[in-house]
Amino acid sequence: MGDSQYSFSLTTFSPSGKLVQIEHALTAVGSGQTSLGIKAANGVVIATEKKLPSILVDETSVQKIQILTPNIGVVYSGMGPDSRVLVRKSRKQAEQYQRLYKETIPVTQLVRETAAVMQEFTQSGGVRPFGVSLLVAGFDDKGPQLYQVDPSGSYFSWKASAMGKNVSNAKAFLEKRYTDDMELDDAVHTAILTLKEGVLTPAEIEDYLQEVE
């Protein structure tokens, strides 16, 4: 990671004790497309806006939500290419765990390892932090789980969360709408309604709601 000319880290402390590069990375995330996740009683929903730069783009080629293992998926807000690198590394780590223990990796372990990778890039020579925040949704022995992983490498478990543009509106909406015993279908509905708050056009909302019904 970084050649010998750059054996020093580019992420350095400011006098106030902040890592400015990480703050900037979070700004990059904050201006990315909105994504959100909701943990239901029997599953987890993750959703994101898929806004393409032009109608000429082949929408089937764009995949914003990716699977890491058959029971863990991830969505991001921020720089797409950075998320692809993380998805690749996480998938490899999940497979390595599987190869060693012949067991599917628990969600917490995968999140922990992904977060460790993100932290590495804030303390290694010649590299910059990742410009994405990830929402990792998984279902394992401990039930449905939802984690957010930030460019700094810190991770949090959420019942419901949003990232990217309009995050304060989205979170306020989720706070009002969220209940602990929500079923998966309710959660999908709520996710779409939350995205609607300043993101989707009324025509798109009608479309999606109809699909769900």
Binding site: R99, L100, Y101, K102, E103, P106, T108, Q109
Partner: protein, 189 residues
């Protein structure tokens, strides 16, 4: 003399009704000379998982230290004990890492899995797993042990009967093997 016969060992594990038993001999030898009569070959990984290591004693001890290390880290990270099947996969992977310079050990793994279902398995020195539903054997006395277990084993034995059976199988087999013996250690869980 083969490297596996340098120290001498006898190991056997049996499945009972919601329980398992694992037993080993106590002799440590240097070829024909007996050097210790209280040598421990069976180790506890956690309350419901035991591993016995036959073969070269130094490799058995080193391998045990490595396995305990890995399990402790697993416990800290995942905040739970390892299941026996998972542990067996781990041992197999560790042994295969040394495919071209192996540990001269044959492990026997015995544990209780989910809902206290007994699990036993053995593997060769490079990690080829052998799962069994009734009993597994390892060590210099393994051929006698196979015969003894085959004739004495019954499925679904209660712990007390399982203890008697495994002890008799072990003692009668090591009597026919000059490199193992001097009593036995038996664990019934």
């Amino acid at each position: 003399m083969s490297i596996f016969e340098y120290n001498g060992s006898a190991l056997v594990a049996m499945v009972g009704k919601n329980c398992f038993a694992i037993a080993s001999d106590r002799r440590l030898g240097v070829q024909l000379q007996t050097v210790a009569t209280d040598f421990q070959r069976i180790f506890k990984i956690h309350d419901k998982l035991f591993v016995g290591l036959s073969g070269l004693a130094t490799d058995a001890q080193t391998l045990y230290q490595r396995l305990v290390f890995r399990h402790k880290l697993y416990q800290l990270r995942e905040e739970r004990d390892m299941k026996p099947e998972t542990f067996a996969s781990l041992v197999s992977a560790i042994l295969y890492e040394k495919r071209f310079g192996p540990y001269f050990c044959q492990p026997v793994i015995a544990g209780l899995g989910d809902e206290d279902k007994p699990f036993i398995c053995t593997m060769d020195s490079i990690g080829a797993k052998e799962l069994a539903k009734d009993f597994v054997v390892a060590g210099t006395a393994s051929e006698s042990l196979y015969g003894a277990c085959e004739s004495m084993f019954k499925p679904d034995m209660e712990p007390e009967e399982l203890f008697e059976t495994i002890s008799q199988a072990l003692l009668s087999s090591v009597d026919r093997d000059c490199l193992s013996g001097w009593g036995g250690h038996v664990y019934v869980v």
